[in-house]
Symmetry: C2
Subunit: 251 residues, 2 copies
């Protein structure tokens, strides 16, 4: 039975509001036949602010794939270790307690993967297994939880570290006027451990509001009509035993 600990989440310092998103979209794409429904859809999502790694003026330039990938690497290396450290602290674990790192990210690509860099940089054991996943989009948060669950079921007493690092603003295509691109430019933000599933989990920890032993179904949806769902059960601290940390258990 795998137990999920409180996710640590970090978002970058540049903030744009929904109005700051809608205004340039109205200007840049005036006359686009699908603009009115796209704007309505953006507004109706309830997204009020988004965090991005660069000011919006830089984000809307497109210096090319190589420059953006370099920026991804720089920002990921600058931001991920602190988030990982906080997650470890919350779980009362050391880097040397971790058996597998599952790193999901589809908005930048590094070879070797960030998992190799983290292992060397943060002093994880050299035997730590690496599962870097770049191709599951939003569904990767759910997939990461499920693969961690598989690993911890296969190897009892094992600890899995999940990292989701997405800088969606680096994938902004300012000249692409397809409705899908309009929407993704208007909705997605940047964050670490910020995948939908992990963010929803964090809110459960922060805000509570679930009944003890409630069962839930965090789900993530990604490209290629891919979805991953994890069935979990909430367990309060009162029930905590020496083997278990407060969290959502995988059913």
């Amino acid at each position: 039975m795998a137990t999920s600990c409180r996710p640590s989440v970090s978002v970058p310092e540049h903030v744009i509001t929904m109005e700051e998103t809608l205004e340039p979209a109205r200007e840049r794409h005036a006359g686009h036949p699908q603009l009115p429904p796209a704007l309505r859809l953006m507004e109706n999502t309830g997204v009020r602010t988004r965090h991005i790694v660069q000011p919006i003026e830089e984000t809307l330039k497109h210096p090319g794939f190589e420059d953006r990938d370099r920026l991804y690497e720089r920002e990921a290396k600058a931001r991920v270790p602190a988030v990982v450290q906080r997650a470890l602290d919350d779980a009362e674990l050391l880097t040397t307690d971790i058996d597998v790192i599952i790193y999901v990210s589809c908005t930048g690509f590094m070879m070797p993967s960030m998992t190799a860099w983290l292992i060397n940089k943060m002093g994880f054991e050299s035997t730590t297994r690496q599962i870097p996943i770049a191709q599951l989009g939003c569904a990767a948060g759910g997939a990461a939880i499920n693969r961690a669950h598989d690993f911890c079921t296969a190897c009892h007493e094992a600890n899995a570290l999940i990292v989701a690092c997405e800088f969606c603003s680096l994938c902004c295509q300012p000249t692409d006027i397809g409705v899908g691109s309009l929407l993704s430019n208007g909705l997605f933000g940047d964050g670490i451990a910020g995948a939908v599933v992990l963010d929803a989990l964090r809110r459960l920890f922060d805000e509570g509001g679930v009944h003890d032993r409630a069962r839930g179904l965090p789900a993530g949806f990604g490209p290629g009509i891919t979805a991953e769902m994890s069935l979990g059960r909430w367990q309060t601290a009162d029930e905590r035993t020496s083997d278990e940390l407060q969290g959502v258990r995988q059913a």
Copy 2:
């Protein structure tokens, strides 16, 4: 206890010999200070022929990342299904028996991943889990076996399909005269399920030569000083029970 069945392997139709590799290298890089040791190292590997997806003249051109990635997608889609079907036939399984597809490839990138395409194209169940891994290089063959082992240990009676599809010739950098690039241009070929680990496994099946119940350690080495090893035990067909197929078991 997970059991590995006979890998099916396919290589493309264009063949170059070691002499056809060495000759252009001698011409193109005459005067390169590290050419003599690089040539010696290539010769000493014992690689005699390599298979590539295009004629060598095309391979040595570099039409850019986008064109090469398009070629990767076209060739992968044209070649992978037959290899998968043969692997399934050898294992006496149907697509509907497969619970997880682990697809490792670092020489081309598709989003959505080939796993999503295969599921739709070949009639795998829509609940099939996807583990696409793009960032473990040569070590990915070993990682794939180990993740399949984890999955089958966590989910008893589950079947995992491993696909390794590498077209290294599409990563040839003709103008890169670094010694690493010289060597990789001179050594790596293209193939499906052709990762070192899986190819070694296939030779065990084809050629035999291991004692019954012998234990072995297929290992793969990749970028970022990454390695994955799988400890297995050979089991002959005589021991085969209704639950087990001939193969190398994970210890």
